[in-house]
Amino acid sequence: MEIFLQQIINGLVQGSVYALVALGYTMVYGILGLINFAHGEVVMVGAMLALSALTALIGWDVSPLLALPLSLILAMAGCMALGYGIERVAYRPLRHAPRLAPLITAIGVSIVLQNLAMMIWGREYHAFPQLINNQPHHIGGAIINDIQIIIVIMAVMIMTGLMLVVHRTRLGRAMRAVAENQHAAQLMGVDINRVISITFMLGSALAAIAGLMVSANYGLAHYYMGFMLGLKAFTAAVLGGIGNLRGAMLGGLLLGLIESLGAGYIGDLTGGFLGSQYQDVFAFFVLIAVLVFRPSGLLGERLAERA
């Protein structure tokens, strides 16, 4: 029972991060019908930027309570600029090209970013500085620490905020209109290029937050961390129904739970033959299962409506 509760907690924390990253995939897909495979690298750049800023600020004796939000804001700003740039350079010139073309530039951008990050930050793992006294709390035999609590609370707040923006504001309405019909939206005076840029920037800001969360939770960051995280979040978006915001959140949480419960019990289930290092198998098993049995995802619309 303790294991179960512990895996639920771990799953929720991990799932919150997946959900934030999955939102970035799904927002872009909703508007452009494009899978932005460079999104995982944006998360990595966010983590690296935040970590560098944090280390520098701590070095100047800035108090951690100030340094954390400052470096988060810096990472968000950096990632928003990056997201904007990626769209301008790699996707906008190919807006009317066959769908395969932007997919390939996406992979290209991803490789470029990884290598740039490797040149800037090196190949080594960077440790996340111990800033706050990461107090563990015991609930029914399971442990949840302060950072994990902060991650879950922040994720819930950010997702609520995003839903409010999308459903209650002029900007959000414009985003939904562009997603439904670009021509008609333009004729209503919506500048679609602006809306698309803003969408990329919003998604990238969420990625930066997710990046900081991951590195705070695991205590490290690495130039290669975006790849697997990106794939998992993409899986989460597909699981929930790509293009659907609520789907991305649900898919993220579910994937986090599936992974961590799977990793917790795989040893028992296979009589010790497979261990928790096979955790990643579950995400991709889910991806394959969804694509085979329900390609439109849990909350997704039928694809025919999009075509």
Binding site: G161, R170, R176, A177, N181, A184, A185, M188, G189, V190
Partner: protein, 257 residues
């Protein structure tokens, strides 16, 4: 004489080797209802797409409200005061009727990213004003009861009306309607006619493409006829009806509609 609201001179549009419009010149006066008719494939919708910026013109000049436009983006033309509806209705299917009209207010409002995130006072006021205006417009076209219904769940006639309300929400000087009566029965067409006359009486210039010749003749101040991408006649409805070229275009050629 006052300057016309819309003036096209020598407008041409080619698709590859195919000339969809050639040397079309026309002007629309402020406050009139101007009809555009012609057999299928005559270039009516192409002309609409040029006027609303969806197509870039290959030749000629395009003046609207005293300004010349060469390769305008649609959202600039919306800003300048041109609004349109589509032959095949293009609403935002998964937005409510009210939200559809509020998108029309987009061009006359300005809250951006910061407004969306901070929800400051001016943003909230602006939002309230556009909700109010959108509701008014739904009432005006007679579908206010359905304001919370998703556009895709409205009846066909309601969708047509919603499209007009959405176009009106942009505060247009020129309202361009592409076959507004298509698929309507006689009663619906009659009430559309009343609505359009009412819209004109508020000072909005109306331009429409229509196959329903009775509606065109009973509604329009002036009519232009397109055939094979050229303007073959223009004038008051009675004149145009007598015009031999028009009769030939409609009855005398193989692909007459």
């Amino acid at each position: 004489m006052t300057v016309p609201l819309l003036e096209l001179s020598g407008v041409g549009k080619q698709f590859g080797g195919l000339s969809a419009l050639s040397e079309v010149s026309l002007h629309i006066k402020r406050g009139e209802i101007y009809g555009l008719i012609g057999p299928n494939g005559a270039g009516k919708t192409t002309l609409f797409n040029v006027i609303t910026g969806l197509y870039q013109l290959n030749a000629g000049e395009f003046n609207f409200n005293g300004r010349s436009y060469q390769t305008p983006k649609p959202h600039f033309l919306a800003q300048a005061g041109i609004a349109r509806t589509f032959q095949n209705i293009r609403l935002f299917a998964n937005l409510t009727a009210l939200e559809n009209v509020m998108i029309g207010r987009h061009v006359r409002t300005k809250a951006g990213v910061f407004g969306a995130l901070l929800r400051n006072k001016s943003t909230r006021n602006e939002e309230r004003a556009s909700t109010e205006r959108a509701r008014e417009l739904l009432r005006y076209v007679g579908i206010v009861k359905a304001h919370q219904t998703l556009a895709k769940n409205l009846s066909y006639g309601e969708q047509r009306r919603l499209e007009i309300a959405r176009a009106l929400a942009t505060d247009p000087l020129l309202l361009a309607l592409d076959e507004p009566a298509a698929g309507m029965n006689a009663t619906e067409t009659e009430s559309l006619k009343v609505l359009l006359q009412d819209i004109r009486s508020t000072g909005i210039t109306v331009m429409l493409i229509e196959h329903d010749v009775k509606l065109i003749m009973g509604l329009c101040d002036r009519v232009a006829v397109l055939d094979y991408g050229r303007k073959i006649a223009e004038g008051v409805p009675d004149e145009v009806r007598q015009n031999p070229a028009v009769i030939a275009a409609y009855l005398g050629v193989d692909d007459a509609a």
